[in-house]
Symmetry: C2
Subunit: 129 residues, 2 copies
DNA sequence: TTAACCGTACTAACCTATATAGTACGGTTA
DNA sequence: TAACCGTACTATATAGGTTAGTACGGTTAA
């Protein structure tokens, strides 16, 4: 499914949260798609099942997945208009990144260009949806 | 100078790194401006000088400040065109944030609008340089 | 030159967070 | 029933963060 960097100083469960979150927002994992079982993923990554569960618990707490005892864990469909708190946090991060790019000498035009390349329905960049 | 969240799970020295980095990229701390002495800042924040030093060491390692024994620590002027590695990391982060905004239902037009508000030499947003 | 700063380095101790191992329970499904 | 699923719990070992204290060399102004 993905790889981990065990030499990293970042906790394994946090790396898991980030990786899975990316797979969700990049639409690699589709809404309501089932995630690997805790024990299965633990076996594949050769880490402890408790660590997987901690990551899943965190992902559920952040609203990216939902778990059903006896059935499995699944990707939670996003509800547009919800998560205003998360959106505010994202805008803060965005502002910080843009500021640092300006600080590093990137021109405003270049910044706009780079971002438009990430967006759908535009020439110059396509998303694999 | 700023405040810390001692209840946060994030390490104090990492919070320090982030806060000071923000002050630098937002141009609140000007190039070659002297930072508070290790012991002074430790006194103001009522934390251990070792923790401040750890943050300063990390900031120096990341290229945001430079320290001179006997004199002090200072804001390192940015060199445009340098730090291509950091720029690549920023673009990755940017792509992730844009993807999550799309995932949360923000339209591409709105994303562009929000970013343009962060940029100088445009109506609708100003930077305090 | 002395005194007061500056960054830096080091040890020791404490505490929390992380990760592992093992066991167990209830719900689901073929 | 058997084999899965998520979940919970204890215990243990280790790593990282923080504090405390001490110390050293460079800088600067009195």
């Amino acid at each position: 499914m993905f790889e981990l960097d065990l030499r990293s100083r970042a906790p394994v469960y946090e790396q898991l949260v980030e990786k899975i979150k990316e797979l969700i927002i990049y639409n690699v994992l589709k809404p309501d798609q089932q995630l690997p079982a805790v024990r299965v993923l633990a076996g594949e990554l050769t880490i402890n099942p408790n660590t997987i569960q901690k990551a899943y618990r965190e992902l559920e707490h952040r609203g990216y997945i939902y778990s059903v005892p006896g059935k499995g864990s699944f990707v939670k469909p996003a509800v547009p208009g919800n998560n205003t708190a998360r959106l505010r946090a994202l805008e803060d991060e965005l502002a910080k990144i843009v500021s640092e790019m300006l600080y590093l000498g990137v021109t405003p035009q270049e910044i706009i260009t780079r971002i438009k390349m990430q967006l759908p329905e535009d020439e110059g960049g396509k998303r694999d949806d």
